[in-house]
């Protein structure tokens, strides 16, 4: 799948409420093809909420999220990868079975599983049940679905959690390659991952400005 060079994510006047509490309102930004956006701000300011709202898990109380130039038949979520705090891997399946499922289910290519495993330094572990992996290896396996199925928008929530320095570098390289192919990435992160973080959106400062 070749990512359309004109694709862009447009978030317009977005407000998300959890129960009666408005987490944020009036949020608007654009992410163009090949661009990354880093969400920063203190804990509880709504970084995860924003990522989940873009993925479509949370309904927008107001405003819209759209992928201009994307596949009109699919929702924004179906054109995104969302990697949250949980890895979404099955402990009783082996590494390669997990990868094959991602590729088959998410509409990817089985041929990509080998390259995903080698890129994330999991190639030697292919026949090991995921339950035996360390926390960092599990995280890498969870991130491998970004490679198994190609999608234009990556939504990464603290992707570097439990990754060592070498693995963070691999992740940085993956995101940089994705951006170079014309993809987009939005990441909530506290650690700089070296993909040329691009634009920064400080949700904490926005909330402070609202309070004034």
């Amino acid at each position: 799948m070749i990512t359309d060079p004109a694709i862009r994510l447009i978030v317009n006047d977005l407000a998300v409420a959890r129960g009666t509490r408005i987490v944020f309102a009036g949020l608007g930004f654009e992410v163009a093809s090949g661009e990354a956006l880093t969400l920063v701000g203190p804990n509880g300011v709504g970084k995860t909420t924003l990522l989940r709202a873009i993925a479509g898990f949370l309904p927008a109380a107001h405003g819209t999220v759209a992928l201009a130039g994307g596949d009109t038949e699919r929702s924004v979520g179906e054109q995104s990868h969302y990697v949250g705090h949980l890895n979404g891997i099955k402990p009783s399946l082996t590494v390669s079975e997990n990868l094959t499922f991602f590729a088959d289910f998410l509409g990817g290519d089985r041929a990509m599983t080998a390259s995903a495993a080698s890129q994330l330094a999991l190639a030697d572990l292919e026949d090991v049940p995921a339950a035996y992996l360390s926390a960092g290896q599990k995280r890498r396996l969870g991130l491998a679905r970004l490679i198994c199925a190609k999608r234009p928008l990556w939504l990464l929530d603290e992707p570097a959690v439990s990754l060592d320095a070498a693995s963070q570098k691999i992740l940085g390289g993956m995101v940089a390659a994705h951006l170079a192919e014309g993809g987009m990435a939005i990441a909530a992160t506290h650690t700089l991952l070296g993909w040329g973080e691009g634009k920064t959106l400080d949700l904490g400062r926005m909330a402070a400005a609202d309070a004034l």
């Binding site: 898990f57 995104s80 949980l86 979404g88 399946l93 088959d104 289910f105 509409g107």
Partner: protein, 222 residues
């Protein structure tokens, strides 16, 4: 279609690796059916008369034991989020999950039922209808269990709430399943009428239950 089949294949493989769900269900089925005669006393005629009903009720309870696992594990390890963003609509995810539950738990229970019928001295003419009605009715059992599993997602002790929510929905299946068997053994009605209604219930639940399950899943993902 590829995504649909890959989800069923994965769930069957997980059920086979973990094994616990099936063993618990089969063991529970055996224990209920084996304990009941101890409580009722050694009246063979009585046992033989109530055997179809007992086998049906015990099967419903046994299949509910594993029902809360249908979505809970995927919810807890985050796989459900990845699945929700797949190309497959959640309605079809619910359908695939129910089929996988039926294949991994329902079918083995149906195969065990005629063996347990021996313990209850069931009438010889009832064996065929018993297996037929169970085979036709158990898919509905799995489809409806999916609604309960999705509603109780992430709830502590959700496994206890699930039977309360879902057992009432099993009443029509139970009534028509058992009356089809009774029709063969004691008459006077025909087997075809209650059996057709049972099949209709299964088909209706195959269409409607995934809609409810998907709605409950969306609610729990937000």
């Amino acid at each position: 279609m590829k995504a649909f089949l890959s989800l069923i294949r994965r769930d069957l493989r997980l059920a086979q690796r973990q094994g616990g769900a099936l063993a618990t269900a089969l063991g529970f089925y055996l224990v209920i059916v084996a304990t009941l005669p101890l409580g009722l006393g050694p009246d063979l005629n009585l046992l033989s008369r109530i055997a179809p009903g007992v086998l049906w009720v015990a099967l419903l309870l046994s299949s509910l034991l594993s029902a809360d696992r249908m979505f809970n594990e995927d919810y807890e390890d985050g796989a459900l989020e990845a699945i929700a963003l797949g190309p497959l609509p959640l309605e079809l995810v619910a359908f695939a999950k129910a089929i996988a539950h039926w294949l991994s738990v329902g079918v083995p229970l149906v195969l065990l039922a005629p063996l347990l019928a021996l313990l209850l001295n069931m009438d010889g003419r009832a064996y065929g209808p018993l297996v037929l009605t169970l085979a036709a009715g158990t898919p509905a059992v799995s489809f409806l269990a999916g609604i309960g599993a999705a509603l109780t997602l992430g709830m502590r002790k959700g496994g206890l709430l699930l039977p309360l929510l879902i057992l009432p929905l099993y009443v029509p299946i139970l009534i028509f399943g058992v009356s089809a068997i009774d029709a063969v053994v004691t008459g006077p009605g025909g087997f075809a009428t209650p059996f057709s209604i049972l099949c209709a219930l299964t088909l209706a639940s195959a269409v409607l239950a995934p809609l409810a399950t998907a709605a409950a899943l969306r609610l729990n993902l937000s």
